[in-house]
Symmetry: D2
Subunit: 143 residues, 4 copies
Amino acid sequence: MPDFPDYDPTVAELAIGYHEPAGLSAFLGMETLDVGPGRMRCAVEARPDLMNPFATLHGGVVAALVDHVLGSVCYPVIAKGAWAATTEFKVNLLAPVREGTVVAAAEIVSMSKRTAVVRIDVTNGDRLVALAQGTVTIKAPRT
Amino acid sequence: MPDFPDYDPTVAELAIGYHEPAGLSAFLGMETLDVGPGRMRCAVEARPDLMNPFATLHGGVVAALVDHVLGSVCYPVIAKGAWAATTEFKVNLLAPVREGTVVAAAEIVSMSKRTAVVRIDVTNGDRLVALAQGTVTIKAPRT
Amino acid sequence: MPDFPDYDPTVAELAIGYHEPAGLSAFLGMETLDVGPGRMRCAVEARPDLMNPFATLHGGVVAALVDHVLGSVCYPVIAKGAWAATTEFKVNLLAPVREGTVVAAAEIVSMSKRTAVVRIDVTNGDRLVALAQGTVTIKAPRT
Amino acid sequence: MPDFPDYDPTVAELAIGYHEPAGLSAFLGMETLDVGPGRMRCAVEARPDLMNPFATLHGGVVAALVDHVLGSVCYPVIAKGAWAATTEFKVNLLAPVREGTVVAAAEIVSMSKRTAVVRIDVTNGDRLVALAQGTVTIKAPRT
């Protein structure tokens, strides 16, 4: 596990329970459940209108959730004013989701000044439904 | 380029201009621009409410668009009643999107009875903004 | 963690300490350290002749090691005569390797009749040097 | 297609036909066939001793070849003294290789000062046998 000397719990606390007033996160109803140094969990409810024609959760919902936690897990551990830009990620969709809530748990597994590599597990109840690994570029604050 | 002996232009034509009445695709305003054997192009407008706090298009919008075309490009070329399930994909986000429309162009570059591998280029005007490669599992119709 | 009802410890024991007489694995000196249900560890020594012109371990060595454990971790848990074919994988190279041994630890994190998804951590001493996630297709024995 | 203002044809020409005297590239017999601005093709012969127990080319050979061209395609287009470090790549193995030569054709599809994104097609005769997409970090020359 990497160290997170810049971890700022006040940034973390601000994220918990915060809801975007509009946009994709608001539409999906993304909710941050908990945040710690190098880790974060966010949830989306598998509402009927987020299903595809096969009555399973649209893969794009999971993809958007993965993208969201990939960048968001970095903010509490980077310098104030720095920016976490998603470089790339890879996601495996393992099982269809029919109801309940999907929870994405992100963990920074490697971190340098410029790059973080993050692994993400997405669960639906006690079932693993997606797995991701991605790379985030840390941009220093503009001075 | 693989052959697509099961290509059904009527399935392709149904997709063009079709808008989902609700759900993620409807919220994002996804529009299918054109469809051919093993290829499809879909667009999303970079509306103000799809931006992130940095005034660039939320990465989750691009991720959801990639997920959408990855599966959708398969339907016109698989047997009637078959199902295209996204196994996994990888996406590189190359440049921020500030306005205009993002267009995802998907091409099936390899296809067997059970698997399709698809490459996707996402452009914003004449700029390449994302690149993806993904795997789709083809499930035979239930008999 | 998935269950592995077909785990065969005799297949696992055969792999430990076995050295291929020739080929890529022999050239790289791959050694299986330990094997269990859904997990395996293999090592390669960072010999001087495996370095690149920058005096760090050739990335291809890590890539080949990742590919090796991705498929090999499946054999003790699939039916006798079945075949584990690598569908795809993604690897992040995190840090250069200058000496010592690289150890790839593979874990099957999801498994169905036809597919396994595996995560791999590659370490060099106590440093994490690569992270991978891949998909294996299980082919039933020919009858 | 990105521009390559730093393209140096003399660097390109040095690569063609060059054989490493030792190491992984030498063992695999990697040969650079041709090089241009943002593109490169390298070949490996599917020798009997590179096969796996199923008489098909070891996936690690393809993985090592992909890793090799991913970085190598960058050298002729980056500043003299700069360094191209593989950040990550993803590869799909599409079909087994039983004989002949595998040729990896790399193309830089996106390039900034610090990052190149590369796509790679691997063919065996006229069959596509692998597809990859990867990210390279460009490190400026030390001054």
